[in-house]
Symmetry: C2
Subunit: 209 residues, 2 copies
DNA sequence: ACCTGAACACCGTTCAAGT
DNA sequence: ACCTGAACACCGTTCAAGT
């Protein structure tokens, strides 16, 4: 049986599917060829080599992250919406994001969202270095949460257990804190709450950063 | 020529050196064997396989990060000192940290520093969820900075250039902001400044988070 | 223009055999 | 108890040869 002509786009799509389903390590040229029903060497004609295939995959991810648009009526709401959209998009593509980061393109990936945030900071009356720091604060908040959360998912059994924190003498007399830091935490809620707090304090005159 | 008996410790040290010098991809069992002057298969007797070798490497890194101690007279100063120490330690071992993260041990790695931060937050009068959020805020600040910074180092040519930001209509009339967000930034200073601002606002009553 | 198999230099890992 | 080489199943990549 013959298959229709192979295209670069088809290679890319199948490669992306492999990465999302089974991680970057599962993306071998031979496995990809089997998946596509072609000889390994055909892939090379279309995408060069493995490295440039990964580059193309990353490029596509960066494009997708660029489609984030603010929604809401107040600057506060619009900033929160961008941060939430970033957060969601990052969580949906953990492996691809890791690949973007490995290639040093994280900043470029964030650029459109960053420009949107700058716009909203201006609308809220911030400017100059204050606005820049506010933008970064939001960005770091998102990245930090995604990282911590992913870490919890990966190793649900080995992150600091409540027990361990209870043993710590400093936490002994503050159970609310121990609970908040150990967990299972409702990260979704925690993200919303602390993002809201952050944006509020950033936008208030003489605020946090 | 014979060599003295191989030990697990020796394998670990040489492996760590290889990773720090040339990245995790350079750590192949065969290369390691050559470096050690033994047969590949000897390594297996001492450390099991590549996976458990990496586990041991990661374990060692986690231990090293646990040696952070706060210094200074005020809670503010002691919190800042912990954050700075974390920041420095993370920057010194980028590849090993990445491996820790891959294995989902980032939180465990941060645990000692986290406990120190909890202690200082209590000393500063915070407790419960407020203290927990403050601890996380500091932690995310550090992680966020290390990530952004490492990204800049990796791809000095492709992060958003000043030119690009200038083209953006939102930044056109705010050169100070454009400068702050593009770069090259004095990240060392930026880290100090924004860490100080963060801690100040966290510790002030009715503060940021 | 597109696809192929053979071949090369690398991997990690197992295992029977040595001392 | 420790070390070895041979062998296996995998890699990515090149290249001459096909259509």
């Amino acid at each position: 049986m013959t298959r229709s002509a192979l295209t670069g786009e088809e290679v890319l799509t199948t490669a992306a599917r492999l990465v999302r389903a089974r991680g970057p390590a599962a993306l071998t040229m031979r496995r990809l060829a089997t998946e596509l029903g072609t000889a390994v060497t055909s892939i090379y004609w279309h995408v060069g080599n493995r490295e440039s295939l990964l580059d193309a995959l990353v490029e596509r991810t960066v494009r997708e992250m660029g489609e984030i648009r603010p929604v809401g009526r107040t600057p506060h709401a619009r900033i929160v919406s961008v941060a939430r959209a970033l957060y969601t998009a990052l969580r949906e593509r953990p492996q691809l994001i890791a690949m973007v980061h490995e290639r040093g393109l994280t900043e470029r990936m964030f650029l459109p969202a960053q420009q949107a945030l700058v716009h909203e900071m201006h609308a809220a009356g911030l400017c100059g270095e204050t606005a820049a720091e506010a933008v970064r604060a939001v960005q770091f908040q998102v990245v930090g949460f995604v990282l911590v959360e992913r870490n919890r998912e990966r190793s649900p059994e080995q992150h600091p257990s409540e027990g361990e924190l209870w043993d710590s003498p400093t936490a002994e007399h503050d159970p609310a804190l121990a609970r908040a830091l150990a967990g299972p935490v409702d990260t979704e809620r925690l993200f919303t709450v602390s993002l809201d707090a952050l944006v509020t304090s950033l936008l208030s005159p003489g605020g946090a950063a």
